[in-house]
Protein backbone atom coordinates (compact mmCIF):
# COMPACT_ATOMS: atom_id res chain seq x y z
CA UNK A 1 0.00 0.00 0.00
CA UNK A 2 2.87 2.35 0.74
CA UNK A 3 3.98 2.17 -2.88
CA UNK A 4 0.48 2.92 -4.07
CA UNK A 5 0.28 5.87 -1.70
CA UNK A 6 3.60 7.17 -2.95
CA UNK A 7 2.30 6.93 -6.50
CA UNK A 8 -0.88 8.79 -5.49
CA UNK A 9 1.24 11.51 -3.95
CA UNK A 10 3.28 11.75 -7.14
CA UNK A 11 0.11 12.01 -9.20
CA UNK A 12 -1.32 14.71 -6.94
CA UNK A 13 1.90 16.73 -7.10
CA UNK A 14 2.15 16.40 -10.85
CA UNK A 15 -1.49 17.34 -11.36
CA UNK A 16 -1.20 20.24 -8.91
CA UNK A 17 1.84 21.72 -10.59
CA UNK A 18 0.39 21.18 -14.03
CA UNK A 19 -2.73 23.09 -13.06
CA UNK A 20 -0.71 25.88 -11.46
CA UNK A 21 1.24 26.26 -14.68
CA UNK A 22 -1.97 26.96 -16.66
CA UNK A 23 -2.85 30.52 -17.43
CA UNK A 24 -6.44 30.28 -16.27
CA UNK A 25 -7.18 31.63 -12.80
CA UNK A 26 -9.64 28.90 -11.79
CA UNK A 27 -7.17 26.20 -12.73
CA UNK A 28 -4.60 27.91 -10.55
CA UNK A 29 -6.81 27.49 -7.49
CA UNK A 30 -7.65 23.88 -8.30
CA UNK A 31 -3.94 23.27 -8.68
CA UNK A 32 -3.21 24.73 -5.28
CA UNK A 33 -5.86 22.52 -3.67
CA UNK A 34 -4.53 19.37 -5.35
CA UNK A 35 -0.99 20.24 -4.35
CA UNK A 36 -2.13 20.80 -0.76
CA UNK A 37 -3.79 17.39 -0.68
CA UNK A 38 -0.62 15.84 -2.00
CA UNK A 39 1.45 17.52 0.68
CA UNK A 40 -0.93 16.32 3.41
CA UNK A 41 -0.71 12.76 2.17
CA UNK A 42 3.07 13.03 1.94
CA UNK A 43 3.32 14.02 5.60
CA UNK A 44 0.88 11.26 6.47
CA UNK A 45 2.87 8.63 4.61
CA UNK A 46 6.25 9.74 5.90
CA UNK A 47 4.93 9.55 9.47
CA UNK A 48 4.44 5.84 8.70
CA UNK A 49 0.96 4.47 8.28
CA UNK A 50 -0.55 2.02 10.72
CA UNK A 51 -3.74 0.14 10.16
CA UNK A 52 -6.54 0.02 12.70
CA UNK A 53 -4.77 1.60 15.64
CA UNK A 54 -5.89 5.22 16.06
CA UNK A 55 -3.89 7.22 18.59
CA UNK A 56 -6.62 7.07 21.21
CA UNK A 57 -5.88 5.60 24.60
CA UNK A 58 -8.19 2.67 25.45
CA UNK A 59 -10.97 3.45 27.87
CA UNK A 60 -9.74 1.55 30.90
CA UNK A 61 -6.05 2.34 30.78
CA UNK A 62 -3.97 5.43 31.17
CA UNK A 63 -1.33 4.63 28.57
CA UNK A 64 -1.19 2.77 25.30
CA UNK A 65 -0.97 -0.96 25.65
CA UNK A 66 -0.56 -1.79 21.98
CA UNK A 67 0.95 -0.19 18.92
CA UNK A 68 -0.66 3.07 17.82
CA UNK A 69 -0.37 5.44 14.88
CA UNK A 70 1.98 8.38 15.40
CA UNK A 71 -0.23 11.28 16.50
CA UNK A 72 2.20 14.06 15.53
CA UNK A 73 1.77 13.93 11.73
CA UNK A 74 -1.97 13.71 12.28
CA UNK A 75 -1.99 16.85 14.38
CA UNK A 76 0.10 18.59 11.74
CA UNK A 77 -2.18 17.55 8.90
CA UNK A 78 -5.32 18.49 10.81
CA UNK A 79 -3.93 21.98 11.19
CA UNK A 80 -2.91 22.05 7.55
CA UNK A 81 -6.34 21.00 6.33
CA UNK A 82 -8.08 23.73 8.27
CA UNK A 83 -5.58 26.40 7.32
CA UNK A 84 -5.74 25.42 3.67
CA UNK A 85 -9.48 26.04 3.81
CA UNK A 86 -8.75 29.61 4.88
CA UNK A 87 -6.19 29.92 2.09
CA UNK A 88 -8.48 28.48 -0.54
CA UNK A 89 -11.42 30.66 0.33
CA UNK A 90 -9.21 33.73 0.33
CA UNK A 91 -7.65 32.75 -2.99
CA UNK A 92 -11.03 32.11 -4.58
CA UNK A 93 -12.31 35.51 -3.51
CA UNK A 94 -9.11 37.19 -4.58
CA UNK A 95 -9.44 35.67 -8.01
CA UNK A 96 -13.06 36.72 -8.19
CA UNK A 97 -12.22 40.29 -7.28
CA UNK A 98 -9.23 40.40 -9.57
CA UNK A 99 -11.33 39.12 -12.41
CA UNK A 100 -13.86 41.83 -11.76
CA UNK A 101 -11.37 44.68 -11.48
CA UNK A 102 -8.81 43.73 -14.09
CA UNK A 103 -11.35 42.14 -16.38
CA UNK A 104 -9.11 39.34 -17.44
CA UNK A 105 -8.56 35.83 -16.28
CA UNK A 106 -5.33 35.33 -18.13
CA UNK A 107 -2.55 35.28 -15.55
CA UNK A 108 -0.12 36.51 -18.14
CA UNK A 109 -2.07 39.70 -18.51
CA UNK A 110 -1.99 40.31 -14.78
CA UNK A 111 1.74 40.57 -14.47
CA UNK A 112 1.89 44.32 -14.84
CA UNK A 113 2.37 46.11 -11.55
CA UNK A 114 0.20 48.95 -10.37
CA UNK A 115 2.64 51.53 -11.59
CA UNK A 116 2.22 50.55 -15.20
CA UNK A 117 -1.55 50.40 -15.29
Amino acid sequence: MEILLAIIIGVLYAAGIYMILRRSLVKLIIGIILLGNGANLLIFLLGRITEGAPPIIPEESKVFLEAYADPVPQALILTAIVISFGLQSFAIILVKRAHKVVKTDDLDEMNATDEDS
Partner: protein, 137 residues
Protein backbone atom coordinates in the same frame (compact mmCIF):
# COMPACT_ATOMS: atom_id res chain seq x y z
CA UNK B 1 -33.09 24.62 -4.20
CA UNK B 2 -36.01 25.63 -2.05
CA UNK B 3 -37.81 22.33 -2.13
CA UNK B 4 -40.39 21.62 0.50
CA UNK B 5 -38.80 18.41 1.69
CA UNK B 6 -35.37 19.93 2.10
CA UNK B 7 -36.82 22.95 3.87
CA UNK B 8 -38.79 20.83 6.32
CA UNK B 9 -35.91 18.50 6.85
CA UNK B 10 -33.42 21.29 7.41
CA UNK B 11 -35.57 22.80 10.12
CA UNK B 12 -35.16 19.62 12.12
CA UNK B 13 -31.63 18.98 10.93
CA UNK B 14 -30.28 22.29 12.16
CA UNK B 15 -30.82 21.70 15.90
CA UNK B 16 -29.90 18.06 15.52
CA UNK B 17 -26.65 18.84 13.76
CA UNK B 18 -25.87 21.56 16.26
CA UNK B 19 -26.35 19.20 19.17
CA UNK B 20 -24.23 16.67 17.32
CA UNK B 21 -21.49 19.25 16.79
CA UNK B 22 -21.46 20.07 20.49
CA UNK B 23 -21.29 16.37 21.23
CA UNK B 24 -18.34 16.00 18.88
CA UNK B 25 -16.69 19.00 20.50
CA UNK B 26 -17.06 17.71 24.04
CA UNK B 27 -15.96 14.18 23.40
CA UNK B 28 -12.91 15.38 21.49
CA UNK B 29 -10.62 14.90 24.41
CA UNK B 30 -11.35 11.21 24.67
CA UNK B 31 -12.51 10.08 21.26
CA UNK B 32 -12.23 11.38 17.70
CA UNK B 33 -13.64 14.87 17.48
CA UNK B 34 -12.79 18.25 18.90
CA UNK B 35 -13.18 21.93 18.25
CA UNK B 36 -12.18 21.94 14.60
CA UNK B 37 -14.49 19.17 13.49
CA UNK B 38 -17.29 20.30 15.78
CA UNK B 39 -17.08 23.82 14.46
CA UNK B 40 -17.10 22.64 10.86
CA UNK B 41 -20.16 20.45 11.46
CA UNK B 42 -22.01 23.31 13.09
CA UNK B 43 -21.06 25.54 10.17
CA UNK B 44 -22.31 22.96 7.68
CA UNK B 45 -25.57 22.81 9.63
CA UNK B 46 -26.12 26.52 9.16
CA UNK B 47 -25.05 26.42 5.51
CA UNK B 48 -27.53 23.62 4.88
CA UNK B 49 -30.25 25.65 6.56
CA UNK B 50 -29.33 28.64 4.46
CA UNK B 51 -29.55 26.60 1.27
CA UNK B 52 -32.98 25.37 2.14
CA UNK B 53 -34.54 28.48 3.65
CA UNK B 54 -32.61 31.30 2.13
CA UNK B 55 -29.78 33.24 3.60
CA UNK B 56 -31.93 35.90 5.24
CA UNK B 57 -33.87 33.38 7.28
CA UNK B 58 -30.69 31.80 8.58
CA UNK B 59 -29.28 35.17 9.43
CA UNK B 60 -32.48 36.03 11.25
CA UNK B 61 -32.11 32.83 13.20
CA UNK B 62 -28.58 33.72 14.22
CA UNK B 63 -29.55 37.26 15.29
CA UNK B 64 -25.95 38.43 15.09
CA UNK B 65 -23.26 38.46 12.48
CA UNK B 66 -21.24 35.23 12.63
CA UNK B 67 -18.09 37.31 12.44
CA UNK B 68 -18.59 38.19 16.11
CA UNK B 69 -17.89 34.60 17.02
CA UNK B 70 -14.27 35.05 15.92
CA UNK B 71 -13.19 37.58 18.57
CA UNK B 72 -15.29 35.78 21.19
CA UNK B 73 -13.65 32.45 20.42
CA UNK B 74 -10.17 33.92 20.16
CA UNK B 75 -10.70 35.70 23.46
CA UNK B 76 -11.94 32.56 25.17
CA UNK B 77 -9.00 30.51 23.90
CA UNK B 78 -6.55 33.19 24.91
CA UNK B 79 -8.04 33.62 28.37
CA UNK B 80 -8.03 29.88 28.97
CA UNK B 81 -4.33 29.95 28.18
CA UNK B 82 -3.80 33.04 30.28
CA UNK B 83 -5.72 31.81 33.33
CA UNK B 84 -2.81 29.88 34.86
CA UNK B 85 -0.56 32.93 34.40
CA UNK B 86 -2.93 35.18 36.33
CA UNK B 87 -4.24 32.67 38.83
CA UNK B 88 -1.27 30.55 39.77
CA UNK B 89 1.74 32.26 38.25
CA UNK B 90 2.32 29.23 36.05
CA UNK B 91 3.57 29.48 32.45
CA UNK B 92 1.16 30.36 29.67
CA UNK B 93 -1.09 27.44 28.62
CA UNK B 94 -0.47 25.28 31.68
CA UNK B 95 -3.37 22.86 31.92
CA UNK B 96 -5.72 23.45 34.85
CA UNK B 97 -8.27 20.85 35.84
CA UNK B 98 -11.19 20.54 38.18
CA UNK B 99 -10.32 17.75 40.59
CA UNK B 100 -13.51 15.70 40.04
CA UNK B 101 -14.83 14.71 36.61
CA UNK B 102 -18.26 16.13 35.76
CA UNK B 103 -21.05 13.75 34.82
CA UNK B 104 -21.52 13.23 31.07
CA UNK B 105 -18.76 15.61 29.99
CA UNK B 106 -15.86 14.07 31.85
CA UNK B 107 -13.07 16.04 33.41
CA UNK B 108 -13.23 19.75 32.74
CA UNK B 109 -10.16 21.89 32.42
CA UNK B 110 -8.71 24.87 30.68
CA UNK B 111 -8.11 22.73 27.58
CA UNK B 112 -11.85 22.26 27.21
CA UNK B 113 -12.41 26.00 27.22
CA UNK B 114 -9.64 26.35 24.72
CA UNK B 115 -11.36 23.83 22.49
CA UNK B 116 -14.65 25.70 22.83
CA UNK B 117 -12.78 28.81 21.71
CA UNK B 118 -11.51 26.95 18.65
CA UNK B 119 -15.04 25.71 17.98
CA UNK B 120 -16.45 29.24 18.03
CA UNK B 121 -13.70 30.65 15.83
CA UNK B 122 -14.15 27.91 13.25
CA UNK B 123 -17.91 28.52 13.09
CA UNK B 124 -17.31 32.25 12.85
CA UNK B 125 -14.72 31.98 10.11
CA UNK B 126 -16.60 29.49 7.98
CA UNK B 127 -19.92 31.26 8.20
CA UNK B 128 -18.38 34.65 7.59
CA UNK B 129 -16.74 33.39 4.44
CA UNK B 130 -19.71 31.50 3.09
CA UNK B 131 -22.29 34.15 3.97
CA UNK B 132 -20.22 36.94 2.54
CA UNK B 133 -19.72 35.06 -0.67
CA UNK B 134 -23.31 34.04 -1.12
CA UNK B 135 -24.47 37.57 -0.41
CA UNK B 136 -22.28 39.07 -3.07
CA UNK B 137 -22.61 36.25 -5.55
Amino acid sequence: MKTLILRTASNYLLPLLLVFSVFILLRGHYLPGGGFVGGLIAAIAFVLHAFANGLDNTKGLLRFHPGFLMPVGLGLAFISGLAPVIGLDDPFMTGLWFPEPFPVIGSVGSALFFDIGVYLVVIGVTLTIIFTISESA
